[in-house]
Symmetry: D2
Subunit: 109 residues, 4 copies
């Protein structure tokens, strides 16, 4: 995973608060729980637990991850996309394109 | 996550090696990487990284989880379902039903 | 399928052009192709074609449907959500909520 | 859509009844309903119906298609995969590989 890229804001300018600032603690809380779920799944595999039970937990963790994605998408549209459309219309097009590509990946197209 | 249930095998008898035994190390390796991915995503949120970059990593982690699920499904059909159908036909029906319910959840129906 | 509800616009007022007006012909073209795909799948089943070949075509049709959904989502955010946020901020909240619920269903959460 | 390939059975031999024979009428019934759903969606677009309402119907049609896929997968594992594993073990490997690739596409990996 490449997470080391220089932070960038909507316009390639110095970073500002991201759209999810108001829900940051909530997202981190969910992600911590998911990390625990993944650890639990590893433990199940280590303990030779039945395939179907492991699969059930993988589906639950996948769903929890998608919930975080949905929350971030909501924050992003409310804050980043709307603000850009309102205050910086010349950059709105790239926001829409970027959102579209993100939804394409999230919908696995 | 409820992972504490008594291990059970295909027939509700004392546990045997699960279908994924031959790929156990591989599954654990992938799960460890996913745990690292989730931790990386938490770090991105902590660091106020741009929403879209966080979403991209969530999609990557989701895909990696689904790869583990696919591997386990493959192991399960090859070993557990086939063995039961071959050696214990009276229990095959419950294997098929269980697989169907698992696929239903995996396909998110 | 309930498609008979009275058309409504963003604000519960008499209908206006929907966000996808500019891509209407394109969406209809894709939907016509998908209708043909579904008919082709029925024909495969009628002709006792091999399960896996039928499944491959169902996956293709599903993907094509999701492409239409992605196009409509793009139109909707660009036009309906943005316009409401810009010109009618008191109704923006309901737009965001509605989009969120739609994405939740599209992501099958 | 390429549906014209010569029918083939599990072993590349002359066609036999596919795994879904017992549910053929049920699958055709569902597919007919889906074809009607797609036609209804086209009509909604023609009538300039609100984007979100169109998206809701697309999600419903997608889910209905996935239900048919799940039914076919169930038939396929119960009949084709199991029969091959039981009566023709030398061809079982290709059945497993084929199922795996089909699930990979269905899970959109």
């Amino acid at each position: 995973m490449t997470t080391a890229a220089t932070p960038r804001d909507a316009h390639g300018q110095p970073p500002q608060a991201p759209g999810y600032t108001g829900h940051k603690a909530d997202h981190l809380d969910r992600l911590n729980k998911i990390e625990g779920q993944i650890r639990g799944i590893s433990r199940m595999v280590t303990d030779d637990r039945y395939c179907i039970d492991v699969l059930t937990q993988i589906t639950a963790a996948t769903r929890a991850l998608q919930e975080v994605a949905l929350g971030l998408l909501d924050d992003h549209v409310r804050v980043c996309v709307t603000d850009t459309a309102r205050t910086d219309p010349t950059h709105a097009e790239e926001k829409y394109t970027e959102l579209n590509e993100t939804l394409r990946r999230a919908l696995r197209l």
